[in-house]
């Protein structure tokens, strides 16, 4: 998505430039004595890396086990071509790719049960297993430590003539063509709704799930895509070398891929290709020209550590930043200052309420939310005890209570982030107890968080797009090849939400540059963009200045039209002004419920907050 922004202005520009470069290579590079085999090798690594970049760069899943799929695809294709007497090279490559993707699916189901470093460790272990399986139990098929020699090169019959791709520059067009297809598909994937969601998962998986995306499903998709790219690249390795080497399965292969991607630049798609170029060039240069021999890898290791430390986004990232820096120097600085000067709170907006997307069944007229006997305990600690609670359609309910009263836990149970120990939650007449947060959001119940949960490296608009996608496309859809801009109704939806939370003037600002109050409004906007019929707001006013509070209260009022909302906050004046009814929680129980005036005058409430003032006055 980061690169998408720069390049989307001109459709197919990148594709065309890639094609031109790929065509130019065999005419230019021989003049600088580049060995065709090195060029071919770079292409295979680059192709391998495209899938890995989607997994690592875009989705944020760092796998150290890609060799498993590289080897699988390679050996399946090589086995078919050398041992099974299968004559069609291209078909064998495709079978290898499909097998790798399928294996990726199975492994993904297991490895994606865990996140972060657990995921990294498991992928390492899995890749190591594949290496051992190739060497021993399957040695009869894979040739064990000898690998499979004699992999043929492809031939294409065109009716009138036959093209033989043999080796060196003659094989180059074949590899370049496959690389080209690979990059075109990958560009479409990262520009599709799926690509946007993958980026959101990298930025904040928790929120991506909370706005209604099936995070697990999309992660698995990225994993399978990476496995498929690895599979075809593995097959091409065998074709290129006329030999399928067993070290394709080695940990070093995975490590080299990770390093090349980081060197070239993650989340760029072209990073792995650049990284492979640098790697193979350095190897050649340091080993032969400088005569360093095996020490070249030490130099590479040091370079790599420095790069990770100082140039996080690799070579392409560095160039991009430099370009951006120079560009901002030359373009008029007035433009940016103007955007900052514009007071986002100044516009007096009277936005029309957004239609709640989920149409309430007409025969259902009861309360939109009905909770009975809700209890949650953590070990011996009771967070909520036996809460009965009900909210009517169109109501605006406030919840107050001292710190530790169990308000946030109560909200977490309502949105199914936390499963209750006992009790039942009915939403629009439907039992949602035990569902997940994603499903509940899809049904039309979501919340804004007490602590901002945003997609930090994205802009305001992109943030809202992520949420809108879940609303418009459902929780899981593999529209990987269609453009993000072609999702019907999205622009209006996003513009409308921007207006509702009064961020239209800041739409293309990255989240990291927003003021706190603006972030807070975006937090509400993310929840709003999923068009909930019941919206929960967990301390929307927390940390705001008095001025911001006034603005936000106004904003909440305008949002509440045509919508049911429950608001937790410590700002009682604000809640008394906003809410029709107030529920007071204390020590995990409902203390009292009533209109703001009833609550103000309630002795129990005063006691809860002030520790028994009436008692004291009696003394």
């Amino acid at each position: 998505m980061k690169t998408g922004n720069i390049f989307m202005k001109r459709r197919y520009l990148i594709e065309m430039l890639t094609a031109i470069c790929l065509i130019a290579v065999p005419f230019v590079l021989p003049h600088i004595d580049a060995a065709p085999n090195t060029v071919n090798r770079i292409l295979v690594w680059g192709l391998f890396g495209i899938g890995f970049d989607i997994l690592f760069g875009y989705t944020g899943l760092l796998s150290f086990g890609q060799s498993a799929f590289y080897g699988t695809g390679g050996f399946v294709a090589a086995y078919l071509l050398t041992q099974a007497g299968f004559p069609y090279v291209i078909l064998a490559l495709i079978i290898g790719m499909v097998t790798a993707a399928f294996v990726g699916y199975l492994i993904g189901l297991l490895a994606l049960r865990s996140t972060g470093i657990y995921f990294a460790m498991i992928t390492v272990a899995i890749a190591e297993i594949f290496f051992f399986v190739e060497f021993n139990p399957l040695a009869a098929w894979t040739g064990g430590e000898n690998g499979l020699p004699g992999v043929p090169t492809p031939t294409i019959y065109l009716g009138f003539t036959t093209i033989h791709f043999t080796g060196g520059w003659s094989l180059y067009p074949f590899l370049a063509f496959i690389y080209f297809i690979g990059i075109v598909l990958a560009l479409r994937i990262v520009r599709s709704p799926v690509g946007a969601i993958l980026t959101a998962i990298r930025e904040n998986p928790l929120r991506a799930a909370a706005v209604g995306h099936n995070v697990q499903g999309y992660k698995l998709t990225a994993f399978v895509i990476a496995a498929a790219y690895a599979g075809i690249a593995g097959g091409l390795l065998g074709v290129m070398q006329a030999f399928m080497p067993p070290d394709a399965f080695m940990f070093d292969t995975s490590g080299q891929l990770v390093m090349q991607t980081a060197i070239g630049g993650r989340a760029t798609l072209f990073g792995p290709l650049v990284g492979a170029g640098v790697w193979l060039f350095l190897q050649d240069f340091l080993q032969s020209t400088l005569g360093l021999g095996a020490t070249w890898k030490l130099v590479l290791g040091v370079v790599f550590v420095l790069l990770v430390a100082f140039l996080r986004d690799g070579i392409i990232g560095g160039i991009r930043d430099l370009y951006g820096f120079v560009w901002s120097r030359f373009s008029s600085p007035a433009k940016t200052s103007e955007a900052v000067a514009e007071n986002p709170a100044a516009t007096n907006h009277e936005a029309i309420p957004m239609r709640p997307h989920h149409i309430v069944p007409t025969d259902f007229a009861g309360p939109i939310l009905q909770v009975t006997g809700l209890t949650k305990h953590y070990g011996g600690v009771l967070a909520n005890t036996d809460i009965d609670f009900s909210v009517n359609q169109g109501e605006l309910r406030g919840i107050i209570g001292p710190n530790g009263a169990g308000k946030s836990t109560f909200f977490k149970m309502l949105t199914c982030e936390v499963q209750p120990s006992s009790g039942k939650i009915m939403f629009e007449g439907r039992d949602i107890t035990g569902l997940g947060v994603t499903d509940v959001c899809q049904l039309g119940l979501t919340k804004s968080y007490q602590v901002n949960q945003l997609f930090n490296s994205l802009t305001v608009r992109q943030n809202l797009i992520i949420s809108a996608l879940a609303e418009l496309r459902g929780k899981f859809r593999l529209d990987m090849l269609s453009s993000l801009s072609k999702v019907p109704g999205m622009d209006e939806h996003v513009e409308h939400t921007l207006e509702l939370v009064n961020l239209t003037g800041r739409a293309d600002t990255p989240v990291s540059e927003l003021a706190y109050g603006e972030k807070r409004r975006l937090e509400v906007g993310l929840a709003l963009a999923s068009s909930p019929s019941l919206l929960l707001l967990d301390e929307p006013l927390a940390g705001m200045s008095p001025q911001e509070r006034v603005e936000t209260v106004k904003l909440l009022k305008s949002i509440s039209r045509g919508r049911t909302m429950i608001i937790i906050d410590h700002d009682m004046d604000a809640l008394f002004e906003l809410a029709e009814r107030i529920t007071v929680l204390q020590e995990g129980r409902v203390l009292v419920e009533g209109t703001p005036d009833e609550i103000k005058g309630n002795a129990k409430v005063q006691e809860a907050y002030l520790g028994g003032v009436p008692e004291e006055s009696k003394l």
Partner: protein, 291 residues
């Protein structure tokens, strides 16, 4: 086929390997638990400890000196690495931490290869532990018997540090909630430095005491690293008892399967890990919290 003596001897080998894995894994797991950094250079540190001991042994001819020198060297090495590089990565995403420690492991391995070549290096066992001991009709290399005791001492030392000292208390509290420890007025970053040093020291100690059993090569850390990962996944990240139990389980699985068919030892290890992941995704002793 399945002969009793052979089984007993493999069971014993599993214990040796398991104890060793337990020691290395505890280092990895307390570093991760406290600092939140998964140290991919941990295998390389294991290897480096072996080579440091080798150098000391060449210079003095004393195995005891070699062990002490290697252990201290790794403590210093770990502290320096933390001060110079690792600490700048605490605030960076997990992936960057993985990348930088991975890069460091390559630097360490290649530096060793530069100075010592890829040829294997041997450190002989100390003379009092040389030879073979018969144990109920089963023959064991004496050093392997001694190794169990040596590694047990290492583990005990780690246990005492973690559970019987003020530092250990802070470390364990840091595993639960580093931010909280910091806000209690304890300089958590100094603790991080010490923990990284101790973790490196544990790996290095394992590296030198294991050197008489397996000859040293620059690439030896990689296999150990993978096995350590499996141990930590089985035992639960950040758990010392988990690392010990996981290590013993992994050691026994590898050894016993090797007796039947060495080719399947890794596959069985993987199967065990899968089983744990499916039944208890956080590992046997894993806790909620950091992940």
């Amino acid at each position: 086929m399945l002969n009793w003596t052979n089984f007993l001897s493999q069971l014993f080998n599993g214990l040796v390997l398991g104890a060793l894995l337990a020691l290395i894994s505890s280092g990895l797991t307390i570093i991760y638990g406290t600092l939140g950094v998964l140290n991919l250079a941990h295998g390389a540190m294991f290897m480096l400890g072996g080579y440091a001991g080798y150098v000391a042994f060449q210079a003095t001819g004393s195995f005891l000196v070699a062990v002490i020198a290697a252990t201290l060297f790794m403590l210093v090495f770990g502290v320096l690495l933390e001060r110079l590089i690792i600490r700048y990565f605490y605030d960076r995403p997990d992936e960057d931490q993985l990348l930088v420690t991975f890069g460091l492991s390559i630097c360490i391995v290649e530096t060793i290869r530069y100075f010592f070549s890829s040829m294997t290096k041997m450190v002989p066992p100390p003379s009092i532990f040389s030879g073979i001991t018969s144990f109920g009709g089963v023959m064991f290399p004496t050093y392997r018997l001694a190794l169990i005791g040596i590694v047990a001492v290492g583990l005990l030392a780690l246990y005492l540090i973690l559970y019987r000292t003020r530092l250990g208390l802070i470390v364990r509290a840091g595993i639960e909630d580093a931010v909280m420890v910091d806000s209690l007025g304890i300089n958590v970053y100094r603790v991080f430095m010490v923990v990284f040093g101790i973790g490196a020291m544990a790996a290095g100690f394992a590296g030198i005491v294991n050197a008489p059993v397996v000859s040293l090569t620059p690439g030896m850390g990689e296999t150990i690293l993978v096995q350590t990962f499996v141990v930590v996944v089985i035992g639960g990240v950040g758990s010392f008892p988990g690392a010990v139990l996981g290590g013993l389980i992994a050691g026994e699985i590898i050894s016993i399967t090797s007796m039947i068919n060495p080719a399947y030892s890794y596959i069985m290890l993987f199967a065990a890990m899968t089983l744990v992941l499916v039944l208890r995704p956080r590992g046997l002793f894993g806790k909620k919290g950091r992940e």
